[in-house]
Symmetry: C2
Subunit: 195 residues, 2 copies
């Protein structure tokens, strides 16, 4: 049983006026009402270089905002991610955040002379809330949900974060106000349940 008393919300949408941000704020409101400690990171507010310039060959120094983000990831016992699916994948801003923050030595540690690795972020759970412009069942069934697999299996669980729950909301494009309102209410309720 995970108490989920320390919740970190990460909003990966670059647009300060996005629906994703509204969803994240609704979740935060619900979670705060339960007395949970909540920290929120809106990536569009951070100052950091999005590109991992030398890949894994040479270190790129962490900016203060990324150091704080690492501290908050270590602090949290539940991490809730909000982002849109663009091109079957994450927006570059969020991908860059992961490339820069989920470093060897922080998120995982490769074993010498072995293809295996140690997972360094164990003991935390996560929830991905992901918007898309296609019907969510179509994204799962026909495309096999590549962004979900990349994020859940190959990023979060790779680093020891589990279980990882996924909620998909779509299609956003052409959606009615009532659809958007319904999901905002749902997020607030997720927050209250620390889901």
């Amino acid at each position: 049983m995970n108490p989920r008393d320390k919740i970190l919300i990460i909003n990966g949408h670059p647009d300060p006026e996005s629906y994703n941000k509204a969803l994240a704020l609704a979740y935060e409101k619900g979670a705060l009402a339960t007395g949970a400690e909540v920290r929120s990171i809106h990536l569009h507010q951070l100052k950091f270089q999005v590109v991992l310039s030398y890949g894994y060959r040479k270190r790129t120094e962490l900016e203060p905002d990324l150091q704080k983000a690492q501290d908050s990831i270590l602090w949290a016992n539940h991490i809730v991610w909000f982002y849109p699916v663009w091109w079957g994948s994450l927006p570059a801003l969020l991908k860059g955040f992961i490339d820069r923050v989920f470093l060897p030595g922080f998120a995982f540690k490769k074993r010498e002379n072995s293809l295996f690795w140690d997972k360094l972020l164990v003991g935390k759970s996560a929830h991905i809330i992901s918007t898309m412009d296609q019907p969510t069942w179509y994204y799962w069934l026909v495309y096999r949900a590549p962004s979900h697999r990349a994020m859940k299996l190959l990023t979060l669980e790779f680093s020891g974060i589990r279980p990882v729950k996924i909620t998909s909301i779509g299609p956003i494009r052409l959606s009615k106000d009532s659809f958007r309102k319904k999901h905002l209410d749902r997020m607030e309720s997720f927050g209250r349940k620390r889901k």
Copy 2:
């Protein structure tokens, strides 16, 4: 039958000294030897903002380097992509290039009041050459190759580019020089075959 006389090579690795770059150069050498016209874009050399700041709500103006890249994509009849798989996905630099360049009106056009769209980049084929730090069969079988699905199905084919061939090379980590040399030779031969 695609004549493939205009080949565009796009290297998405941010590191100027990467193995991906060496692979791209080997392919270029082979293709030039056949008399094909070849253009190469190494993303680490371009000047552009990686983040699509307002999503699809508000236009972000294209930098000259991205305008040139769009011209080269329109010019090419075969596009060869080189990049590493990081976190089951593309490096942020390449994802940002796609977010910024593959815009509505350039790569696709959504139809009014419909979830369908017109594909604007028809008549071009592509080849993805993708390196990874895990065994390639494991990436396909266990993880269902999310970066391949995102890039092939939800980016290139979504925009009308097809067929899309995929070549995976891995694991790169702990690989021997002979393994790396073999794949460099293979790329040169792919270039000669305009594969």
